[in-house]
Each structure stands twice: as C-alpha cells, then as structure tokens.
C-alpha cells in the first residue's frame, strides 16, 4: 500500500483547514458587524460554493487559476508557480468548498459573544488584536470548534473540485478521496475500502481530539 494519498490528504486538509479557519473567522467577524442587507447579500455569495456541484466549483476555480487566466498566468509567468495540477491545487479546491461551513458556524458564535469582555479589554489598554485572539476566540470556542471540525471533514472528503483542479496523478496529487474513487471505479473495492477505513481513523482521531479539547477547557 502506497501511503502517499494519506500524507497528501492530511497536508491538504490541514492547510486548507488553517486557511479556512482564518478567512472564515475574519469574514464572520467583519460581516457580523454589517447591516442586515449587506449581510444578506454576502451570505448568499459566500454560501454559493455549497449549492453548486463541486466539479462545477472546480471548473469556476480553473477559470481563475488556470494558466490562461490572469491570476494563474501571473503566477506562472512571474513567479514560475503553476497553480493547477499540483498537490497544492487541492488546497484551493478544499478551501472553496469548506469555507461556507466555517463562515456560517463562526458567525453564529460571534453574534452571541458578550461584548463587555471586549470593552473591558479595551479599557485595560489591550490592543484589538490581542482582544480578538485571546478573549473573543476562546469565548466563542464551541462554535469555532464545530466549524473547524465540519470544514476539516469536508476537506478530507472533497472530491469533485479537487479532481478538476489538481487531477489524479498517483504519487503527485492523489488524495485519499480521489484514490478511493479511482480504486472503486477500477473495481478494486477491497483497496478502496481500506482507504475508507483510513479516512475513518483520521476523523476519529480529529473528533476525539476536539472532544477532549472541549472537555479540558470546561
């Protein structure tokens, strides 16, 4: 058994989880302070990746990141970095589909944050950054954790957009998901099932870690 998909999946899911964590939280933070109409519109736009078939999401990403389109061309020509058909292309795919999960759950948590904690930090002279990371985030831990778990799971399971953007090149861009799919389609169901178990193990570890974290902080 070639363990590359495990390692690749883990790094893609982990990195995308980190990215989604930050971007989702910042989006949630700034949007939760906006007016109702703007909030509604942004909500619709940010939830869009959820309501489209992932392959189409991948296609739309390709229209941005592909070497024939401005962003992709810029990276390729000036930085000599190819954004697609690489292992890290899977990150873009995973980020796009798991972002709405983090965003929505974090926004809910932020909207129920007790502002007196923030005010109290301000009057003590703490910078807003410090307050955000050391006061607001720990206080909203429950919601943020739920969002992170969902995003991580979604990243791990992401197939459609990844296959479009990163392709399936064994040893290069294969993730557990694309491998499972490939093995299953080529009638190697036993092997596919083994990889399903690997995914199961990963999520078990992550979920248990999260449960422990929740517990410890109580």
């Amino acid at each position: 058994m070639d363990w590359y998909p495990l390692w690749n999946s883990l790094r893609v899911a982990a990195i995308s989880c980190v990215i989604v964590f930050f971007t989702g939280i910042f989006a949630a933070y700034y949007i939760s302070r906006l007016g109702r109409v703007v909030k509604g519109i942004l909500d619709v736009i940010l939830t869009l990746p959820m309501v489209l078939p992932p392959t189409v999401v991948g296609y739309l990403l390709l229209l941005v990141l592909g070497p024939k389109h401005p962003v992709g061309a810029f990276f390729l020509d000036f930085l000599n970095i190819r954004l697609v058909m690489t292992w890290y292309a899977g990150i873009f795919a995973a980020v796009a589909v798991s972002f709405p999960l983090m965003y929505r759950t974090a926004r809910g948590a932020f909207e129920s944050f007790d502002m007196t904690l923030a005010y109290s930090g301000q009057t003590l002279g703490l910078s807003n950054t410090y307050i955000f990371w050391r006061v607001r985030m720990p206080a909203c831990r429950q919601g943020i954790l739920a969002g992170t778990v969902l995003s991580f799971a979604r990243s791990l399971g992401e197939y459609g957009a990844t296959s479009m953007l990163a392709g399936y090149t064994p040893g290069r861009t294969a993730t557990i998901s694309t491998t499972v799919y490939q093995l299953w389609r080529t009638n190697d169901e036993g092997m596919a099932f083994r990889w399903v178990l690997v995914n199961l193990a990963i999520s078990a570890v992550v979920l248990l870690a999260v449960n422990l974290l929740e517990r410890k902080e109580k």
Binding site: L62, K68, S163, M164, G167, G171, Q182
Partner: protein, 242 residues
C-alpha cells in the same frame, strides 16, 4: 397502449440520442423515451445494482461486458443483464490526441508522448471508456501509464469533459479523447489513433434482459441503425457501423 422506454446512454451521446429520441417519439406517439446520461461506468454500475433499464448504449465494450454474462474477463461478478441476441456494435468513434489552441508544447503526434516535450498528459481513468483505449495506445507507443506516473506526467480524469476542460485551459499539455468529444468541445485534434494502436473504438448497444418492453426497445435500437439516425450520428463525427 403506451409504452415507456428507459434508455441508458453514455454521456458523450447526450445530444445525439436526445435528438433521435425526439424524432422517434414524434413518429411513434405511443412511445415515451426516458434517457439517462452518465459515464458509461456509472450507468453500468447502476444497471448491475438493478436499475430499470430497457436499452443500454455504452461508450466502450468494457462497460457492456461488465453486465454481459458472455463478457469474458470484464465481467467479474457474473452479472447477467444483456439480452444476447440484441447486442450490436452501434457506432465507431476515433481516439484523438488534442492540445490547446495555440499550444506551444510542440506535441503534434502520439509519438511525441514518449519524448521530453511532454509535461502533463490527461487521460480518462480506466472507468471512462476512452481511458481504456488511452492505456492501450501508451503500451503501443512503448511506454506505460505506470512509467508516466513515476515521472509525474500523467493525470487521470473522471470523465471526458474534465479532460477537455483541462486541455482547453492549458492546465495539461494534451489529452486523449474521442473525436466526437473534440468536435463538440471545439478542439482541433492533432493526431488520430490508428486501429493498430488501440483497435477499433466500438460503441455497443443492447436491450436488457429483464426489460418489460423488450420488443419496443428492440424497435428503437433498430431505428438507431436506420438512416435518419445515421445522419444525426454522422453530424457529430460518429461512424455508424450497421
């Protein structure tokens, strides 16, 4: 009385079969045709799992063999759905090599796939009919998918559209697809596979054994081999075989 036909057809035939079905139902008002389009592999799986299907048109013999008791080694779990006497080779397609418009990769023939010019080739996976042919072509050229995998020069797509998109967007240098797919995607083939590279590319069609409308299905299949249907098939680049 009214008969309802369920046709499972490879996604690459979406336009043609839809069009022919429309013409056919106009002439036969007592028949309604319901088409399901997907990758041949998905359709074969669905039939194997008991989906109601009267007529199956696959984009390669392999997927038909999977559900045909006489399908040889492709049939791994003894599925028996094909009404043997109805199975025909309906169409022939060509396997072509495509590159993006204005590509500067310098790949102009299948032979170039073995050289240094190739950065990334996209083929369908084994489950996509053209994928199986692509693998044969690679063998013929004296290389193999495994070899290209080791060099990181190959990527597998789930369906033909993925291949064409990736070629069009310049994400890969070139891809191997059917001539008809190249035609509808507006891609210019740079090379066409000869029969000795991968054999003939056959689209088999067959009536399903447990169909409740075997006769009507057979009639429609016969119609598909007729002249009106031929015209439609040829318009997108298929070669009708019968």
């Amino acid at each position: 009385q009214n008969t309802e036909l369920t046709v499972f057809a490879a996604a690459s035939m979406t336009e043609t079969i839809s069009k022919i079905a429309d013409i056919y139902t106009e002439a036969h008002p007592n028949v309604t045709i319901t088409c399901t389009f997907d990758s041949s592999g998905t359709l074969a799986t669905q039939i194997a799992q008991g989906a109601d299907c009267d007529l199956f048109i696959s984009a390669a013999p392999k997927q038909m063999n999977q559900i045909d008791i006489n399908g040889g080694e492709d049939n791994t779990d003894g599925a028996d759905f094909v009404l043997e006497e109805s199975r025909i080779d309906l169409l022939e397609n060509k396997v072509v090599l495509v590159t993006a418009q204005g590509s500067d990769s310098g790949i102009s023939s299948f032979e170039a796939l073995t050289g240094d010019k190739l950065n990334m080739l996209c083929i369908g996976n084994e489950d996509v009919p053209v994928g199986a042919y692509s693998l044969k072509i690679l063998e013929y050229l004296g290389t193999s998918a495994q070899e290209l995998e080791d060099e990181g020069k190959i990527t597998y797509a789930t369906n033909v559209k993925e291949v064409t998109t990736q070629v069009q967007e310049g994400v890969v240098d070139c891809g191997i697809i059917y001539a008809t797919d190249a035609f509808s995607a507006g891609l210019e083939p740079v090379d066409e596979a000869t029969p000795d590279m991968c054999g003939q590319v056959i689209y088999p069609a067959a009536v399903m054994k447990n169909s409740e409308n075997i006769q009507a299905a057979q009639e429609f299949l016969d119609y598909l081999t007729g002249d009106e249907a031929k015209e439609v098939f040829e318009s997108v680049g298929f070669t009708p075989l019968s």
